[in-house]
Amino acid sequence: MTFDALAGVLLIPALAACLLAALPGYRLTSRLNVLATFLTCATAVSLFVVEPRSGPYLLVDDLNKVFIVLTTFVSFTTSVFSASYIGHEIKIGRLKPTYVRFYHAMYQVLMFAMNLALVANNIGLMWVAIEMATLTTVLMVGIYRTHEALEAAWKYFILGSVGIALALFGTILVYMAARPVIGEGPEAMVWTTLVTRAATFDPALLNVAFVFLLLGYGTKVGLAPLHAWLPDAHAEGPTPISAVLSGLLLNVALYALLRFKMLLALNPAAIAPGPLMVTMGLISCVFAAFMLYRRRDIKRMFAYSSIEHMGIIVFAFGMGGPLANFAGLLHMTMHSLTKSAIFFAVGHIAQVKGTQKIADMGGLTVTNPVLGWGLVLGVVAIAGLPPLGIFMSEFLVVSSTFARSPWLTIILVFGILVALGGLFLRLNTIAFGEPRGPTAPADASYVPMFAHLAIVFMAGIYMPPALVTGFQNVARLLG
């Protein structure tokens, strides 16, 4: 049989998971982990070369191709980072080897689940995959087994489960709406069939369904007021997981939301999903921006910044239109790369300083110039300053929506500005001023961080035409 890339992105992580669960020894497993993620990434890239046909269960189109490649790439770089990070954790005895084995296995399971969610052609399957991803991350957040790690995991678990339930109810309702038109059986859950017939579905059912899906998957996206799990989960889990959460899991949930938005958009009688998303996006953006100010924990702060950016992205997609969709897609990509890069930096910083409290770290650009300036660059990028990618996406979002609905855009701009203030307020104490806390040199792998930042920088100045056309197709797809 010919090599099927779709199966590849699923099978490689699955096999790796079993293997890593079995193998002992940190060095070997971490290397294997990197290898597996690299293979997955390569397979995903091959999707662009040969596009396999999408069957009843697996689907590949322009939309999820972008997501898959992004996910696999960031998971690859994160695994590289995690190798050095976990090494240090073991050295200081924060993690026991058994847990590391568990950790790597779970990492691969998570990759599997996320890829599955992205390629699933069946909304039920998609649901299962996303929940699987959630539960794995719950376990990984609690891996340090400290008091507050467990509390964070528990919070995540409960809120996540409720989200699961709501999302499932929404899925069932979609099925109920589809059944009279398409007929019973799995066929009524297959994505490709749904979109072709969506116009004739029952609008009222779709509306209720979308409400539940918005809340259910919105919990994963971390939209306020459903965000509660996110900051603690980011703050208390191991940093690679924070990076994966911010960089990938949120995107996957967002992907699900987008799919259903497209579905609703196809049905003229149903409520417009845009306004709902725009509202939640604005709430999240402004709320998170204000929450940035009183943070004492560096990882929790950047978690809130993730909420803010998710808000911006959801706003962009909610506004719709080719430019805004393009901007949203670009912003999502840039945010994943930048935020994971920031977490790479933060992870090593926290290891150098032996704490996550901002008050105990200072003058990084003096003591650890590479880490310090890396963080500064990351924050500059995430705050939306040129010449980095996020500036471009924010430029497009704002300038393309302001003419349409000035007031909403002004709220968004306000949120962006407030967030910038919060971020730099903390950055001043972390990166500049008199050095505080231990100043040992970090045994860090800077490659992933600067790779991401380089890409972001590149995208801010020059975007390869192929990528652009791809994004434009997706934007058109999203309507």
Binding site: E148, S161, A165, F169, I172, L173, R179, A204, D232, D297
Partner: protein, 220 residues
């Protein structure tokens, strides 16, 4: 046959809502447990009936799961936990029982309004079932947010999930129903174990502030 099947399904679903109300009304843990068992039992019956009506044998499996796991295993386990943790006292509610009931009424009415806007094109059985299922879900959620005690919140979550299963089974020919119900049973098992392991008496509704100050470095 059509009408009868409809009526029975209708009756069962309606009684599920009723039992949810009874749960809402209860303020003693043991009684609450028993009522939840009843809730699960009725669910099992309605699922079985659906299996019979749609002659979808796999649904019987779901019914059995509901019966064994939810109506018997979990309640007994929780019973043990309650004894172990010594929290078999009154459940302190956030809002009084009376207001809670009123809220419940409102929720049921809301779900009716929302669901009855569904055009009659979808078959009535589905519509009614959905209306009831939605109200069960909402009532379960209401229960979760109005009770302080961990166990009663778990019960709330489980009844919410019963509502889901009701909807799923009501949806004729829906795939994955069994898997879903299994998955949820596992989920609930996790929660129960979590409560048991982490000795989470009130963790649902307490945040110990020292922990925040000491570890998270956050401050009110």
């Amino acid at each position: 046959m059509r009408g009868l099947s409809f009526d029975i399904a209708h009756m069962l679903a309606g009684s599920l809502v009723l039992v949810s109300f009874m749960q809402l009304y209860q303020d003693r843990l043991y009684a609450l447990l028993n009522i939840y068992a009843l809730h699960a039992l009725i669910l099992a019956m309605s699922v079985a009936w659906q299996a019979f009506v749609q002659d979808a044998p796999h649904l019987y499996l779901t019914a059995v799961i509901a019966l064994v796991f939810k109506a018997i295993v979990i309640p007994t386990a929780l019973h043990k936990i309650i004894v172990k943790l010594g929290i078999h006292r009154e459940i302190e509610t956030v809002v009084g029982v009376g207001p809670a009931m009123l809220l419940g009424m409102g929720l049921v009415a809301l779900s009716m309004v929302v669901m009855l806007r569904v055009t009659a094109k979808a078959d009535p059985l589905a519509r009614e079932d959905l209306a009831f299922a939605l109200s069960v879900v909402l009532l379960g959620l209401l229960m979760m947010v109005t009770r302080r005690n961990a166990v009663s919140q778990v019960i709330g979550f489980m009844s919410l999930e019963n509502g889901l299963v009701l909807a799923a089974t009501g949806a004729k020919g829906m795939p994955l129903v069994v898997e879903i119900s299994v998955a949820f049973s596992v989920l609930i098992a996790f929660i129960v174990i979590g409560i048991f392991l982490f000795r989470i008496r009130e963790r649902f509704d307490t945040v110990d502030v020292q922990a925040l100050d000491r570890f998270r470095g956050e401050r009110r």
